[in-house]
Structures are given as C-alpha cells and as structure tokens.
Symmetry: C2
Subunit: 429 residues, 2 copies
C-alpha cells in the first residue's frame, strides 16, 4: 500500500473536519483506491484550542513551513487571499501537490496559481471551493467533459438560501431573519461576503472558467446580493408562480459568455426552486447530456471535508501512478474569449412599482414599456382598501437590460410613481 503524507495548513472548522475524516475513513479510502493518504502534520497559530477531534501526538505545530516541507500533499485551509496565497505558491514551487477550498483566492489569483502549478508540474485541486461537498468540479470537468456547456444555474451560498427559505416560510423580513441567522451561526457577524453575492460571484467565476476555458476573473461577474430584497417581493413572486433564489448564472449567449449573480425568480416547480435551507444545488445544461442537477451541503465542517479529502485522494492517486496533472488544474481553451456586456443581456424582468391609485397609471407605465418594445407577460394590481399608494407588479417577456433600464429611468420621473421601482430578473430554467 502506497502512503502519502498530508499536511494541513489551517486548523479551523474545515481543517478539523479534514483531519477527522482522514483519521476515521482512511481505511475505506485505502480499500477503495489502493493508496492511503496519511495525516502527517497540521499547522496553525493556535494549537491548543480543542477542535473536537483527537489528533495523535507530534502532528500539531505552529510551523507551517515545516508542514509544507515534510508533506507530499499540502492542504491550504487558512482562507483569505494573502498568506494563503504565499503558502500555496511555496508548496507548488517545491513541487508539492496542493489542495485548497479557497474560492476567493482562486477567483482573484487563479491564473497565477495555475501557472505556478504548471511550471512545477504539480497538481492543484479545488473541489471544495464550489458548492462544498457536491462533486461539481469533477462532474463538470470529467463527467461532462464531452459537453459544450449551454448554461449553469447555481444556488451556491448556504447563508443566502437559508435566509430566503425562512423569509418565504415564515413571512419574515430580511433584517429579522439575518439577525436570527447570525445568532444561530448561519451568518457571519459581517455578512457582506455572503449576502451581497460576493461569495457566489467567486464560485461563478470558477465554474465559468471551467465551462468556457478562460479565467475571466471576479470583476467580470455582474453581482447583486439579497440585501435589498423585500418580503413583498417574495410574496408577489409566489403569487405569480415563482420563488426567489440567489443564483449564479453562466450562459453561452450566442458565443459570448454571460456571468451574473442576482436574486432570481424561478418557477416554483423547477427542481432548483425546491432546494431549501442551507443546501446548495447546481444545474448544468450541456449540449449532449441535457439538464443535470447536483445537490448537497455547500458548507460546513464535514461536507467541505468530504470534498477536500476527495481531492487529497485524487492527488495521491496521481502520485502513486506517476501521472500528476493527468487532469490539470485549469486548461485555458478559450472556447469563448468574449463576454457579453451587461447592457446587452436579454432577460425577463419582474417590476414592482409603488404608484398612486389614480386614473391612467397603468396606461402611462405600460406605454413607456411598449415604446421600447418591452412586452408584458403578466400584471397584478390588487385593490387598495383605502390606501392611496398601490403596488403594481409586472412580469415582462424577454428584453434587453439597457432597454429595461432606460424604461425605468422614464418611469422614475412619472408623477404617479411614489418610490424607486423594484427590478428583479426571471429565469424560466
């Protein structure tokens, strides 16, 4: 049995889960694959706090360089984009196989890291960086390798999905659910990375790179979070047959790549609409396979460890078979090297207006839309029951983003309009 030394840098939640998994399930991995990854070192600044896993003597150290030096496979679980990058580059330059779960680092510095891996002939694996325990990277790169990718829709942030699920189920406001989620540990004290869509954008950038063979980077992803989402929108969407999810959206748009993250109305009977709580789901549509969907836990100690240890095993199998970089970390293929500008994106839209309850309002609004050839697919205005401002909700047929933006500017200055128009996008999946 070939054994390989695994060194973990960063003994936080996921680090502890990875150590635990290697210790508990190393025999299963060995039986299944014929190689055994062995926990050889864990480096962290804090090696005294109990992480709920019994680590054998001599494994824990504060000396990251020593762990990198003495390992065959280095697992970066420090997080962030500074010291983590340094550790990975040190390991790669020393020819070590690297496993990371660091989506922010990959989204920002992927090209640099992959170049370093290529130069030294080392493996860099990152299954856990997208959708936690779901083997979406392996499925996309290997299982669906024969497909040209038409579309990817991903619910890839458990915190946002948890908040949206509770808002819908409980009829609760965003702020109240966020506060409770923070209390329960489902949201960070500073929740911006999650709720502003940034984390989802990181993952979207990674999947887009794999799907289309070019590292577009994080700035290429149009990003809106769920912070501005109101309960009223969830209720109106529900009435019209839709549920709102924060989606990472990647599309082949006539040979240009579309990358967006925003709250999205999707039909309630779509499988993706039924992925709730902290769970993640990624729908991939290939030209050959058609629609596929991958579902599971997107975060957490154990689920993330499952993906990290799968990567460790992959790296160990490559070492054992002398075939490092059999499937390289990233292959620039440049199937599509151009991105569609946000202005040119065609989508269906949900508009919620607060308008004065007086004659001619619907006529004025719909006339503005009609003048830009934006067609309305459905419209709801409920009776006001004594209020002088009323919600008018419209769903449109497909229209260009720049047309809808221009229409909204015109609507904004109408005298009947009493507050900013709420704009959301619809995907019929």
């Amino acid at each position: 049995m070939k054994e390989y030394k695994v060194g973990i840098i960063g003994f936080g939640t996921v680090g502890a889960g990875v150590a635990e998994n290697l210790l508990n399930n190393g025999d299963v991995i060995a039986k299944r694959t014929g190689v055994r990854p062995v926990l050889a070192g864990i480096a962290d600044l804090d090696i005294t706090t109990d992480r709920g896993v019994k680590i054998p003597d001599g494994i824990l150290t504060t000396d990251a360089a020593k762990v990198i030096n003495e390992s065959d496979i280095v697992v970066e679980l420090v997080g962030g984009t500074t010291i983590a990058k340094k550790f990975i580059l040190t390991a790669l330059n020393a020819g070590k196989s690297v496993v990371t779960a660091n989506k922010a680092l990959l989204a920002h510095y992927g090209e640099e890291l992959f170049a370093a891996a290529e130069k030294s002939g080392a493996d860099i694996c990152y299954e856990a960086s997208v959708a936690g325990g779901i083997p979406i990277i392996k499925s996309l790169r290997e299982g669906l390798v024969s497909n040209r990718i038409n579309k990817i829709f991903g619910i890839m942030n458990g915190t946002c999905n948890y908040i949206l699920t509770r808002m819908e189920r409980e009829g609760a406001d965003f702020a109240a659910v966020l506060a409770d989620a923070q209390k329960l540990g489902y949201a960070e004290a500073n929740p911006s990375l999650d709720i502003d869509g940034i984390d989802t954008a990181h993952k979207t950038a990674i999947l887009a790179a794999l799907a289309y063979g070019r590292w577009f980077g994080i700035d290429a992803v149009y990003t809106e979070g769920i912070r501005e989402l109101e309960l009223a929108d969830i209720i109106c969407a529900d009435e019209m047959g839709y549920r709102i999810k924060l989606l990472g959206i990647i599309k082949n748009d006539n040979g240009k790549v579309q990358m967006r993250v925003h709250p999205t109305l999707i039909p309630k009977d779509a499988l993706l609409a039924n992925i709730n709580d902290v769970f993640n789901g990624v729908m991939v549509e290939g030209d050959t396979v058609g629609q596929t969907l991958f579902y599971g836990r997107g975060a957490g100690r154990q689920a993330t460890a499952s993906a990290v240890v799968a990567d460790i095993t992959d790296a160990a199998l490559n070492l054992a078979n002398n075939c490092r970089r059999r499937v390289p970390g990233f292959v620039p293929g440049e199937q599509f090297d151009r991105q569609i500008t946000e202005d040119e994106v065609v989508s269906r839209y949900y508009l919620r207006l607060q308008v004065k309850d007086c004659p001619g309002v619907i006529a004025q609004v719909t006339q503005i839309l009609a003048s830009r050839s934006i067609s309305i697919s459905s419209l709801i205005q409920h009776e006001t029951r004594g209020k002088d401002v009323v919600s008018l909700v419209l769903l449109t047929h497909p229209a260009k983003e720049k047309e809808i933006r221009a229409a909204l500017s015109e609507i904004a200055v109408l005298s009947v309009n009493s507050s900013p128009v709420k704009l959301l996008r619809i995907e019929d999946i």
Copy 2:
C-alpha cells in the same frame, strides 16, 4: 496532441450518439484535456440504415474483430449478455481499454469481466450503465471516496418514472399509460425489463458493489416492479402526503447490506419525489458529506453518449499518462460481506384493504397488527356512499418485513376482507 483510436461495436441508438458526439465535440475534449479520442471504426451487422449521423468513409464495417484489433479503446454498445461479453473479453484480453453501457452484463458477469481487466492491466469503464448521463459512478467512486455510504435511493428507470408521473398527473390507469408509452417509444414492446424492476435491480447491484466493495450480483436484490400498482394507491398515497416512485434502495443496515427495488412511498416535499417524467435521480447519503442528489436524463441517445464519451476520455487520459487502472473498474474491499435477509428488513408500510362496511372491521385489522407490535401512524377510511366494500388505508411505523407478512396472512383470512391486501413500503428519506 495525443490521439487514441476509438472503436464502437454496435451502431444502434447509443452507438450513433457516441459517434456523433466524438465527431462534433472532439475539439472541446481535446482543448479541455490535451488528448483527442478519434472515431476509428464502427462495427455492426447493419451498416446501411441511416442513423442520422454522417459517418466518414472507411469507418463503418461488419467486422467487429477488425474494429477491436485496430482500436485503442473499444466501446461495447451491443447490449445483452452473450455476444457483448465475448467482445468485451476479446478486447480486454488484447489489452484494450473497454467502455460499456451494459448494466445487465455487469450485474450478471461483473466479477468475471473485472478479473479479466485486472489480469490484462486494462481499463473497463461503465459510467453509462447507471442513470445514463448522470456522472453517478464517478461521483460515488471518486467525488465521495472519503465517505462510508449510509444509503442510496435511486430513480433509475426512465420508463417507470414516466409511467408513474403520467398516472399521477392524469389520474390514469397503469395499463392505459403503458400502452401510450409504448406507442410513443418510451416503453418497449416487451416492457418487462423496465416495469418489473429488473433494469433498476441491475443498476442497484452495480451501485451496491461500488458502495460496499463486494459484487453481490443481481439475485441478491429483492425486486418488485410497478405492474401491480393501481391508480387507487397513487391517489391514497397523495392524500397522505406521499408520492410513489420505483426506487432502487441500498442501505448499510447495521453492518449488513440491504438491496431492494420496489415502488416506494416518499414524502412529496422530498427532492427525489419531484423528479418526474423520464428523468433519473440518485440520492447518496454519506457519513461525511450528508445527503447529495444527482439528477439528469437516465437514457436516450445523447445523454447516454455523454457518459460513454466521458469514459472514453478517462480511458484516453489513462493511456496518455501511462496510468491505466489508476481507478480500477472495481476494487473488492469487502466492507460488508453480508446481506440482510428480506425477512429482517425493517420498513414502514402502506396497507390498502378492501373490507366490508360493517361493525368491528377496523378493530379486527388493527388488533392483528397490534398483536405483532406493528404500530399505526395514520389511517384513512372514507365514507362509502352506498357501496358495501370500502377502502381502508393504513400507514405503519417501522416494523420487520416478516411481522408484516405474518399479519397480512392473518388479515387475508378475515371474513370481512374482500380482496388481497395491497402492500407498499415507505421511505421517509
């Protein structure tokens, strides 16, 4: 760019799809992986019928031996368990990499084929044998390699799922929907392999072998199909909050393996219950990752081709990197070498009785169940409106199969009972 010759044996629906995919998407595969699988030969007895794909000159032949001889990677798409086996053994013995979609062959002769592959050091890949285009084999063996598998629930037969979906949606009888499915080409003229659960049992045997490291074979799978399912059961299940799906069920049952195929009531809000029409879905629960689900098309020319060509690419990557059998076709690990007998399986049950509408009926039936410590979780009897026979539907808490069987024998001879009791099983997933 390293190129590998691919020879297809069997130019049927899937064979044509594989040829088409290699011709259309070979450049994408090459860009992504650095290797190019090249269509080199197709053998079939009929090489004149148009299959809707333009095959270059010199590729089609009736000489299977020649195709095997001249290929690096041999793709068996003949089907059946006789001549297909011969072709695969010939190819393996000649050291060729083999790709097959033949679940029946694997379920019956897997051990023999894997032994031949091991002996010659060749790859044998079979992603397309289970759940068509869904990369479930790769996900289970590689993506979830660090998990002890607790449970697998699979909707793995598109024909059955199509029939069940239409019965529920249209309130139609089994026979009528089957006849229409045959007319539309969704069911075979002889539908037994699908509707009697045999095809699902083949796939269940394959997944159980991968999950638990032992080739139990097809006879080890307790199998019931959907032929006896009545619309009344679908309606009653719906009223009680359940949907009926034909599931392949694999469980770690306290260190023994449970393998069953039968129509199963699952809660309507479970993701698996929302997989409809011809689609497949496989839920895998691992000890580390928790619940995961994989969804997509389980059959058809293109979806199956997607999986076959993924396997071809895997085999080509192994050839290019001189690492054949990096992940062997099957590794006997014998994590669990024992199977639980059907008698000892614990399940929840659905019972539908046709009883006379007279005093004491419910008392007699429930007394029999109580005497065997079978507890009732819910019960429905609707008003009869003039009929003298009435449906009594019971759901039980968990009980042993042998206890429920014994209880049914006692109920069968009650004078109030007017026809055989309908027994179905429930999984709360």
